[in-house]
Symmetry: C2
Subunit: 188 residues, 2 copies
């Protein structure tokens, strides 16, 4: 499964331009599948070439032409076939956790900074997920979309909570103090 498949998926929700598809990626798939223009535009070109989407150019004043893509019946079939055949992988690649794993090689202040950054980073992502499920045209939201959103909220919430609750002890330990000593230091 690649960006092409996700583009077909977005187009099941209605006709879209490449730009709009990118926005949809950020709204809906942000927490589990990333894609930039550099992968979306070539994907759309390839899907057009294969006849899985059609493309209609719309003239605009003072802007480049819009290209509105639509899913073809063949495209819908290709999407379903691919989804049915895709094994359910779930990969995490976390430079953050690598950094934490080797925290004893970093300055303690850096460890403190990184953990703070991550907690701050996840908060708006979780809010974005909730905003997406509470969107106005709630009738269009399928149960699986709620499921994916709930998953993101639960998992990122757990991540943020874990880091927030354990970062002080980690920084103290990396600074060569026991949690008790750190509590004393904090009490001064």
């Amino acid at each position: 499964m690649d960006v092409k498949t996700l583009c077909l998926g977005v187009l099941t929700e209605g006709d879209r331009t490449g730009y709009e598809i990118k926005q949809r990626f950020e709204e809906a798939f942000n927490h589990f599948f990333g894609a930039g223009f550099g992968s979306i535009y070539p994907a759309l070109a390839e899907l057009t070439r294969r006849g899985l989407v059609t493309c209609e150019s719309v003239e605009q004043e003072k802007r480049p032409d819009k290209k509105v893509y639509s899913l073809t019946p063949a495209g819908r079939k290709a999407l379903v076939d691919e989804l049915v055949a895709t094994p359910p992988r779930h990969k995490v690649r976390s430079e953050f956790l690598v950094l934490m794993y080797f925290a004893h090689l970093l300055p303690p202040e850096r460890v403190a900074e990184i953990t703070e950054q991550m907690v701050a980073h996840w908060r708006p992502v979780i809010e974005g997920i909730e905003r997406c499920v509470l969107a106005s045209d709630a009738a269009e939201i399928q149960p699986g979309m709620r499921f994916a959103a709930g998953f993101g909220r639960a998992v990122l919430g757990a991540a943020a909570a874990y880091v927030d609750q354990n970062r002080h002890d980690l920084v103290a330990a990396v600074a060569g103090r026991t949690p008790d000593e750190a509590a004393l230091a904090a009490a001064e």
Copy 2:
């Protein structure tokens, strides 16, 4: 940050062969950073070429020569420099969640099967994380390693719990029933 950095990291724990490094990836980094032989062996070759590790061949009976890699002072410095400069990203790429998002396009039995598979998949991963932190030579385990393990346990535990608790409702909804109807169906 790439596989090369992680190899340097593993070698801070002691001299290792490529094969042993791969095993260490599976024990310690499994839940946040994957790597196969196809990326580890070339990484080691490149690190040797750059003088960041040294390589000593050890003859073995009836097996290919072992190549034992050791971190050089330059390698340790390169590792620390890279860690300090690395922004703390945390990326998820989940074909599983894509499948869930588009669950309404799949046969309900397939949705049931996938969710079961995922719950079953995470259980041994969590056990592996716990085994790793409870290892015999516990003195060698740094606080950051415990932190990363605790994170994995918390987050994968939340993931497995969420899927396990919500999969029945999802399957019911995808099958075109309300949870109430599904409860009635289940009671028959």
